[in-house]
């Protein structure tokens, strides 16, 4: 288990021309293992930046990011890639899949990089695709799947290797409400079953309704942090 996730006084600034933008401003936060958390707030509030920093896709300009015992800020690029490969599952907003690979190959992708052998990998990928309701569509390429089906393949890929942490950046943004609901149900189930930590960034009220913990961001600052179960 990767354990607690800690953001210690994290700031991420970008420069745009002469203007300095604080995408994240002195954010301090602790996320417990197994939480189902959502970052929400208006566009440009820093939700995606927070997710990217937690996932090691981006580095803070200052501050520290600890995931369990590991300090992401002190890792090399290659070490962070390795850490993501073995501990984190990602679901992005759109264009989540590798177009030249079929649905099952996309799901197998991470497991193949992890070195899981052929038969076990295929079995697990087929089983997860079945779990997300895509049985029979294993050999379809992303171009032959609808947006909702593509997102489900992405979720299948994110969970197939049983990661301790799943980061989902606006996963329902391009989906209709029925598909969104089904996807959230699925992720709640996985959270319940595998005790994986799920962190979302979203505008979607459906996701927010399902989350156990809601963290509101505005102009890169955490302005509220509420735990529904506690409340």
């Amino acid at each position: 288990m990767i354990g607690q996730i800690e953001l210690q006084d994290v700031t991420r600034t970008y420069t745009q021309g002469e203007e300095t933008i604080h995408a994240l401003h002195h954010a301090t936060l602790t996320l417990e293992p197994g939480e189902f958390t959502t970052f929400y707030g208006p566009s440009g509030s820093g939700k995606s930046t927070a997710l990217n920093i937690i996932g090691g896709l981006d580095l803070p300009s200052s501050g520290k990011v600890l995931v369990g015992d590991a300090s992401l800020t002190e890792m090399t690029r290659s070490e962070r890639a390795d850490f993501r490969l073995h501990h984190i599952g990602f679901v992005f907003q759109a264009y989540n899949l590798i177009p030249v690979l079929s649905a099952i190959e996309n799901v197998e992708f991470i497991m193949q990089l992890q070195g899981i052998t052929g038969d076990e990998r295929k079995e697990r990928a087929a089983s997860v695709l079945k779990q997300v309701g895509l049985s029979g569509m294993e050999l379809r390429r992303p171009g032959e799947l609808s947006g909702g089906q593509q997102q489900r393949v992405a979720v299948a890929r994110a969970i197939a290797s049983n990661p301790e942490l799943v980061l989902a950046d606006e996963p329902t943004a391009n989906l209709d409400s029925t598909t969104s609901e089904a996807l959230i149900e699925l992720m709640l189930e996985l959270n319940e079953t595998y005790k994986s930590t799920f962190i979302f960034s979203t505008h979607d009220p459906l996701v927010m309704k399902s989350a156990h913990r809601l963290i509101e961001l505005k102009d890169g600052q955490i302005i509220s942090d509420s735990n529904k179960e506690v409340a």
Binding site: N52, G55, L57, D58, R77, S78, A81, D82, F83, R84, L85, H86, I88, F90, F92, A94, Y95, N96, I98, P99, V100, L101, F109, I110, Q112, L113, Q114, G115, R157
Partner: protein
């Protein structure tokens, strides 16, 4: 998991990416295969020309190796002769590397007809020794060949006959210096006319029998050279040593010493070919790099996604390099097939006489027969694969060292 362990996955991605943009891949393959194919054809023609020049010299009157008086190369006059030792010659003929050997008189002379005169090289030959060996043993175009070592006839080239404004069957006078440096001349009847590959040969070589030449130069039982034909252009040192032992007072010279111009020509040709290969490969490499940059730019988001999912930068590099390697490999194979096919089509030779009239005067045949060398194909292919793959490292490195988020966002715009 090491990058190499991901090779099956990376290979699959590389292949599918090649198939993904078929038009671009087809154009890249076309450029590679045409480049390789044309280079193979050009190399075969150049090699063919080089071989032809060497063969013309070897089977002209040079042979692979010659036994000469030590000073003959610098001053090829009758002064520099040596006594023909039949015992040594017999031993030489017994050596397994000797395919043919011929003893000759070779002297500069002047030939005069009733109308014209020209400087020539006179050869005194034993017709039987020259058969299937040298120009002196070829069948006449007109008249007859020399028949034995005492034949008093003269065997000359068609071009010389024309220049002398004389005819077959007429008498001409040969003038040369004898062993005592006195002028010696004698009338000969033209008994045969030959047609050689090169005009220069037809104009300058005149043959009579060994005895007639010895009589003319007052050198009975003496010769200027022994020319030897071996199975290959590369003559083993052991054979040179053997020959030197048989003729301890003479100089043993190889065709490379006798025909330095040909050696230089072939060396320059090799350098030119290498230079041409490099130019072709650099041009292909630049085209490939451009194609890879385009391909990577189009797949920016995908590459960013792979990095985000945990693919290491080394694996991203390897994936791009593999894509280039496969394109180069397939293109090279197609190019080799194209080149070999081209060589096959030109197997009967190309006649360049229409636009290279001076070629034969320069010692180059006007018919070029392509000669395919596996070493050229191998060198070209290896150079292309190595330099092409090295060249593709730059776009590959570029793709792997851009930030995954930058790539993802670029792909979204």
């Amino acid at each position: 998991m090491g990058v190499l362990a991901a090779l099956p996955l990376l290979s699959r991605l590389a292949f599918r990416n090649i198939l993904r943009n078929r038009k671009r891949s087809f154009l890249t393959l076309l450029a590679v295969s045409v480049g390789i194919g044309s280079s193979i054809l050009l190399a075969a023609l150049a090699r063919g020309m080089g071989e032809q020049i060497t063969r013309d010299a070897i089977y002209g009157m040079t042979g692979h190796i010659q036994v000469r008086h030590a000073s003959f190369t610098d001053d090829p006059s009758i002064e520099h002769r040596f006594v023909s030792d039949e015992e040594s010659f017999e031993s030489l003929m017994q050596h397994p590397l000797v395919e043919h050997a011929a003893q000759r008189i070779r002297v500069p002379a002047v030939i005069m007809s009733e109308r014209e005169s020209r400087g020539i090289t006179l050869f005194g030959i034993s017709p039987q020794s020259e058969k299937d060996f040298s120009l002196a043993g070829i069948n006449p175009n007109r008249g007859r060949a020399l028949q034995d070592s005492s034949d008093n006839g003269l065997f000359i080239g068609e071009k010389l006959l024309e220049k002398l404004k004389t005819k077959l069957g007429r008498r001409v006078v040969l003038t040369t210096q004898d062993k005592d440096n006195n002028i010696s001349d004698r009338g000969f009847r033209i008994v045969g006319v030959f047609d050689a590959e090169l005009d220069s040969t037809e104009l300058s070589y005149v043959f009579t029998s060994l005895q007639s030449a010895q009589t003319l130069t007052h050198t009975p039982r003496e010769i200027s050279e022994i020319s030897i034909l071996t199975p290959s252009l590369d003559i083993p040192n052991s054979f040179i040593t053997f020959t030197q032992k048989l003729y301890p007072n003479q100089r043993i010279t190889t065709w490379k010493d006798i025909e330095p111009l040909i050696v230089t020509l072939v060396t320059i040709q090799n350098g030119f070919l290498l230079f041409w290969f490099l130019i072709v490969i650099i041009a292909i490499g630049l085209g490939l790099m451009n194609s890879l940059f385009m391909s990577i730019y189009e797949r920016a988001r995908e590459l960013g996604l792979m990095q985000a999912l945990g693919m290491k930068p080394g694996a991203i590099v390897l994936q791009t390099v593999l894509e280039s390697f496969y394109l180069l490999l397939i293109g090279s194979l197609l190019g080799i097939a194209l080149g070999v096919w081209g060589v096959h089509l030109l197997a009967n030779g190309i006649d360049i006489s229409a636009f290279a009239e001076g070629a034969s005067i320069a010692g180059i045949s006007t018919m070029i027969y392509p000669a395919l060398f596996v070493a050229d194909i191998a060198m070209l292919t290896v150079m292309l694969l190595v330099l092409g793959v090295l060249g593709s490292f730059y776009p590959a490195w570029h793709s792997s060292h851009e930030h995954s988020l930058t790539l993802i966002h670029r792909g979204m715009t």
